[in-house]
């Protein structure tokens, strides 16, 4: 028998706020987290726009040895996971005595790698990079750090799938619990926010250059969109079998009922309608619901000309013109490896507070986005089912469907 999979904990550290309450308020208010980061101009970026989060001070939470292997991805992930563990009613004593897994999405550790290489070149010596460098530099940095800090005893690996990493991490956790292989899996996504991580991406000329109006620059689905804005932070989603959640009296925040995925098998960066449609339809099939059950689609739409059009067409093909759609990237920018997880957190906050966060800066549709129901202003509305899309470079697609929890 397959297990039902519920969400029992959420945590967020993003440019919209450093915890769930702050982020809920920002989402409701349609507040942008985008700023102009002057340093990016000085070092040759085409666009200095970015979402911004500060490096958290972890000295009051963690020992030196616990902190030394952490750079931005792990630091952000710690903050998000700490919040999620607390609101799931878990603690380290319980985690140490039970089997809890960790599958976290991450796809770069650019700044720490750069700093390490600079140090080796400066000193001409490898020891002098210190003991933390290797644990900061490996792509599984979040898993190494978080699993040891929280004493986790279950499945433990990092999932790397470009901008769908966070979404697939939740999908993988879902499958393991559904099949009875894990009772509980901490999932999520982390994204470093430093310029080093984003220089080569900026080099593709796909970032918005509306630098005079940072908070208005991310315009998913709008006719005048001119590119995405990088962002970052971390989001944690704790998945658990229904039986386990009930047994320990955990809060049940929602139920994950569908995970669809596909690969385009096509171009490194260009989106693909067929791939997106297959992912959406697979999620609906897995969830065993018809498309008209979905009340809200949290779009992947990043504010690029090509990507948003393909997704608008895919949403129209599968859902028609009625379903409410918004891209929270209009406020956050593109949180890349983290986005698939953070957008589940954002959508959960909407579902549990009966509103749809706006696709800010949506002023004029284009020919394709005019066909779908894009929510440009905050809307009070009950959400019983939502779907969240994530699409990544290399043509990896992931769609998750979550249902309001009913016994």
């Amino acid at each position: 028998m397959e297990n039902r999979v519920v969400i029992t904990g959420l945590g967020i550290y993003s440019c919209l706020g450093e915890n769930l309450n702050e982020v809920r308020d920002s989402l409701f208010q349609g507040k942008s987290g985008i700023v102009l980061d002057e340093i990016r101009k000085e070092i040759g970026f085409r666009s200095a726009l970015t979402g911004m989060v500060k490096d958290p001070d972890l000295t009051s939470f963690l020992s030196r040895r616990q902190r030394i292997g952490m750079h931005q991805p792990a630091m952000y992930a710690y903050m998000a996971t700490k919040e999620a563990v607390e609101n799931a009613g878990l603690d380290i004593d319980f985690l140490e005595k039970t089997e809890t897994g960790l599958i976290y999405g991450n796809d770069s550790t650019a700044a720490s790698v750069g700093e390490t290489i600079d140090k080796i070149r400066e000193k001409k010596d490898t020891t002098l990079v210190g003991s933390g460098a290797i644990f900061q530099n490996m792509n599984c940095t979040v898993n190494m750090n978080i699993s040891t800090i929280f004493k986790l005893k279950g499945i433990n690996f990092t999932l790397s799938a470009a901008c769908a990493s966070g979404s697939h991490s939740i999908g993988m956790g879902y499958l393991l619990i559904k099949q009875g292989l894990q009772e509980r899996v901490i999932c999520g996504g982390a994204q470093e926010i430093n310029p080093t991580a984003m220089g080569s991406f900026d080099g593709l000329s796909v970032f918005s250059i509306k630098e005079s109006t940072p908070t208005k620059a991310s315009k998913p689905f709008d006719r005048d969109r001119d590119g995405l804005i990088p962002s970052g932070g971390a989001a944690t989603v704790i998945l658990e079998s229904y039986e386990s959640a009930i047994k320990r009296g955990a809060p049940i925040l929602g139920e994950l009922i569908g995970y669809g995925f596909s690969s385009n098998g096509d171009h490194l960066s260009n989106p693909n309608l067929d791939g997106q449609n297959r992912s959406l339809n697979m999620a609906l099939k897995q969830a065993n619901i018809l498309a008209d059950k979905i009340d809200y689609v949290n779009a992947h739409a990043t504010s690029t000309p090509a990507g948003d059009s393909i997704e608008a067409q895919a949403i129209y093909d599968v859902f028609g013109d009625k379903v409410a759609v918004s891209s929270t990237k209009s406020m956050t920018g593109h949180e890349c490896w983290m986005a698939g997880a953070s957008e589940i957190v954002y959508s959960m906050l909407m579902m549990n507070n009966d509103f749809i966060a706006p696709n800010i800066n949506f002023e004029n549709p284009d020919e394709i986005s005019a066909k779908i129901n894009i929510i440009a202003e905050t809307k009070q509305q009950e959400i019983n089912y939502f779907l969240s899309n994530s699409f990544g470079f290399g043509g990896t697609n992931s769609s998750l469907i979550i249902k309001k929890f009913n016994k």
């Binding site: 020992s63 030196r64 040895r65 002098l128 210190g130 003991s131």
Partner: protein, 82 residues
């Protein structure tokens, strides 16, 4: 740098790096136990020594180093060799 200056410098950077109360860094105290050093921490000890004194110590240098006093003597010797 005389021995007193070495002691003060060492106390400063070790207490900061390893987050240990300076008062615990006494000449006859055991260096490894006081600083709670594991195998990885020795790498960082090498780093902070290099940052503060400009020389690199090796594993062989640490043979026979038990107390802080032993350590101050090692630093004195290395500084003289520079």
């Amino acid at each position: 740098m005389n021995r007193e200056e070495i002691i003060n410098t060492v106390k400063e950077f070790l207490s900061e790096e390893f987050e240990v109360d300076k008062a615990k860094i006494q000449p006859d105290a055991n260096l490894q136990e006081t600083l709670d050093l594991d195998s990885l921490d020795y790498v960082d000890l090498v780093v902070v020594i290099e940052e503060n004194f400009g020389f690199k110590v090796t594993g062989e240098d640490f043979v026979g180093i038990t107390t802080f006093d032993d350590f101050y003597t090692l630093v004195e010797k290395k500084l003289e060799e520079k």
